[in-house]
Symmetry: C2
Subunit: 303 residues, 2 copies
């Protein structure tokens, strides 16, 4: 177990959050959101996704968002589902790409129309191209802790999958609890095993708060030595498998909890609250984050 | 650290939840709620509070609620703030009383109009009377992990307070994070120290989810060996110091998390969801619990 008190957060709101919102934002407001997140201290942001605009119309302006954020002191990641997406992202000028697959064949077929093994075969040349092009690359594996179609895939299957990815050269591997079904004991046990077995892999964890367990799972990941997590401003985005449910763990709740617990993410809470206020205005809805609700209740009380 | 997988929950919704709701329920509906909670498997419920009806009009029917639930297989607790409340509760026929005070003088003065030490002096004879009357007695200490007026009271102060209560004979001592400000590292560290030092005290923890940390704090308490917690159906009740914020940790979220994590509270999740549906209808609002939202989104999807 590492004793480092420094935690790295990758902000995924402009991608994972906005892609699942009913209301779309104009490109200029997406850029303004990313500027606010950067000003708050976010150093790495997944700013968009180069998927087919037919699939996710909200992110059809991916290249414009990249162009409009080039002067910010950020490592800008974009999700790329395939070669075409990679080429568009590279041409647009991102610093990093997020490659994706699912731990279960059922979800991988539904999402990417191929098996998990077929996805791995597709990702390896993209990973090689990213290396040659000087781009950072991370892989995000969906449905690691549970799948709406197959249930819990089991640690053994995840160990084999991580082993395959590590053999292919991947060193930054994200394990995603896409439907928020993980529990803290599972996270602690699995991450302890995986970190010991794959000591040259940098694991990152991506939690959703669907069942209210997101922050408990984050703390379990920290206890097991993980120091890199995804989070999402405002906790927006929801869950496509449970419409109306909460989305990703909210960046402001994460930063507040980390500060209280003696960890440091290098991000200013008041800057994040400004960003989530801006987002609430743009999306014309309340944010899912607890801190946002408390902040507004206190403002209301003071007024 | 105990390895027991059995967790005892005290349901506090009919008291801590309903006392803070804007909408009051008719007595018959309070009784119907308690019947549903009992049928779901709750074995201990804080069903009301014998405070002055002028202070908390929602609970003015305390004696009727006790009378209407006497045939249920429950240990029924009532909160009693003073001798008058104790006498009313005993006359009504509860099986247990919850005695209350605050860890900080500022909050104790505001809530009970006396210092913490003065409250202890008042509670000792009530505790003795409960013992002579054959009633169970627990003490709940508010603002243990943080106070809106004094901040973090510090572990040393809590150790001295618990020591005083233990010397007076109290064996069941509840530590309440009344404003939801605790963090999991604090909970784990403090409870590890307190359980070691006061090995003959049975600690119980009462968490609010104001900052979204409730379930993470619960898991930290379990990791430190605590096996008894308060929870509240629907997560209702809010926080008087942050209007609009979330209330107690929701019983259905707790039971779902415990089941997933390999613990057993002896309570059926579907029964709890029936109870929170009933409560949502009565209060004419959505519940704060994550499970309730997911359940309704899935119902909506299936419809």
């Amino acid at each position: 177990m590492t004793s480092s008190k420094s935690i790295s957060l990758t902000e995924v709101g402009p991608r994972d959050g906005l892609q699942n919102e009913v209301r779309n934002l104009p490109t200029s407001e997406k850029i303004a959101l990313i500027e606010r997140l950067s000003a708050a201290g976010c150093k790495e942001i997944e700013i968009t996704s180069f998927v087919s605009p037919k699939m996710i119309p909200n992110l059809a302006d991916a290249a414009e968002v990249v162009a409009g954020t080039s002067s910010l002191p950020l490592t800008r990641f974009a999700l790329v589902p395939n070669t075409r997406g990679y080429e568009r992202a590279h041409a647009a000028g991102v610093e990093g790409v997020t490659l994706v697959l699912s731990a279960t064949d059922s979800h991988n077929m539904k999402n990417l129309n191929r098996t998990t093994q077929e996805s791995i075969a597709d990702l390896v040349p993209l990973f090689e191209r990213a290396r040659m092009d000087g781009l950072q690359a991370r892989v995000s594996i969906s449905m690691v802790f549970g799948c709406p179609f197959e249930g819990n895939p089991g640690l053994g299957r995840i160990e084999r999958l991580v082993g395959t990815m590590a053999d292919k050269g991947f060193r930054r591997i994200g394990l995603c609890d896409t439907i928020g079904i993980a529990n803290p004991n599972q996270v602690f046990d699995w991450m302890s095993v995986l970190r010991q077995r794959f000591s040259d892999v940098e694991f990152e964890l991506h939690f959703h708060d669907t069942y209210g367990r997101g922050l408990a799972n984050l703390m379990a990941g920290i206890a097991a030595g993980v120091r890199r997590f995804d989070s999402c401003i405002g906790g927006i985005g929801g869950c496509p498998y449970a419409p109306g449910a909460t989305g990703n763990i909210a960046t402001e709740d994460v930063v507040s909890l980390l500060e209280a617990s003696g960890y440091d993410a290098g991000i200013a809470l008041d800057g994040l609250l400004g960003a989530s206020d801006f987002l609430a205005d743009q999306l014309r809805k309340s944010m899912s984050s607890s801190i946002w609700r408390v902040h507004h209740s206190q403002c209301a009380k003071a007024a």
